[in-house]
Symmetry: C2
Subunit: 221 residues, 2 copies
DNA sequence: ATTTTGCAGATTGTTGACATTCTTCAGATG
DNA sequence: CATCTGAAGAATGTCAACAATCTGCAAAAT
């Protein structure tokens, strides 16, 4: 127990842990976009002083999850539809690059793993198990991005996805759109399996571009 | 004078100013990659306490300019050749997107401005004025990225360029490579002027990809 | 001779207190 | 009645001191 706690703090400082925790709180929806974040309240909640809290907030600010206004405080970032669209465009470019890279260097194990995620999503759709679908969906995207062999790419991509979680519309994925989305996944994975970089690039770009359109259409309702 | 200082602090807090200053010191080469950054020394240098210094460092850490090792301190980030190559690949993808976007929405004034930068670089090359060339070169890239109409894209692109400044090889641009580079600039700008997104995308991507090759070749010498 | 141990100094981590700024709202003013 | 003024309370900004950890080196042990 103690050894575990020590191990935890070996390369994770208190501000880093606090940052992770505040991020969880924000993305978990406990604070809504636009809400003010009170330093004292957080310090009290975690039983520490305001110093580490402030350090964590400076980091979250750079991550794009909060807005800091001097002498006014920090607020959960509020994304406009236009900003969300911007982020989707950048994300599409990065994801396409990831797909292209992975199509070049993917191992047989990589391909097998990706196919596993697609199959799991197929089953989840059949079972109307949306929770599993969402988990597997993220796992597939993360696997593609982290196995692409470019850590910088992965970092920036994941930062964008985090920011997008601040843009919560009625995010109820319609059953048929989910199925269509997984067809796109299949094309992505098969392009990678075929070791076809151009095809993978197109499939990955198209997937995010389509997701953007779906989201924007959803936004109008 | 006072009013100016007050105005400066209106939406720029002390930690933000300090962050900018530390960044300047790092990118200015005063600290070399791998060097340890002493909090106390910085606090003394700026005549403030360590609190704001630490906040600035947490932000710089997320920016990717420093590495933080708990209980050991912060160090100027050291980029390997492989990491620099990674960053170039991501940068190429983002810059290509910027070129594509700008080709769609550029105003006549935008095109004129871009052509002005290219012309200034032509003149600088003729005069062997490398300093001006570098300034204009950055100005052109920044103009393209900020006028592309996607703030997220600009933010991430500029962050990558900042990181690349940590990778200093013998960065003496050879005279003919500079001229070749400006020919690429001309093609980029003319593609934008022609309002041809696909051509602009290709020209911008090619420019960064070529720059990467030049840098990597340079690295082997 | 090599490794280990154990200080002493230096550096990072954290805290609580104080200074400054902002927010709120009641009361005054036109 | 609307607007302005200004004090009280609360929140952010900064600091200096203390605690915990690391580094370097000398002395001891194998």
């Amino acid at each position: 127990m103690l050894a575990q706690a020590i191990e935890l703090l070996r390369d994770r400082s208190l501000p880093m842990l606090i940052e992770q925790e505040i991020e969880r709180v924000i993305l978990g929806g406990e604070y809504a976009p636009g809400d003010k974040i009170n330093e004292q309240a957080l310090a009290l909640r975690f039983g520490i002083s305001r110093g580490p809290i402030r350090e964590a907030l400076r980091s979250l600010d750079r991550t794009g999850l909060i807005d800091t206004i001097p002498n006014r405080g920090v607020f959960v970032r509020r994304l406009t539809a236009a900003q969300a669209a911007e982020i989707y465009d950048v994300r599409a470019a990065l994801f396409a690059l990831a797909g292209q890279c992975l199509a070049i260097r993917a191992s047989a194990a990589d391909v097998e793993r990706l196919r596993g995620h697609v199959a799991a999503m197929d089953e989840a759709v059949a079972r109307d198990d949306f929770e599993t679908y969402i988990t597997e969906n993220f796992a597939l995207h993360e696997a593609i991005v982290t196995r692409a062999g470019n850590a910088t790419l992965a970092t920036h991509y994941l930062a964008l996805v985090k920011q997008l979680r601040l843009y919560r519309t009625r995010n109820l994925m319609l059953a048929d759109s989910v199925q269509a989305s997984n067809e796109e996944h299949r094309e992505m994975v098969e392009a990678i399996a075929a070791r076809d970089p151009a095809r993978a690039y197109a499939a990955h770009f198209n997937h995010v571009a389509t997701a953007k359109i779906r989201l924007m259409a959803n936004h109008l309702t």
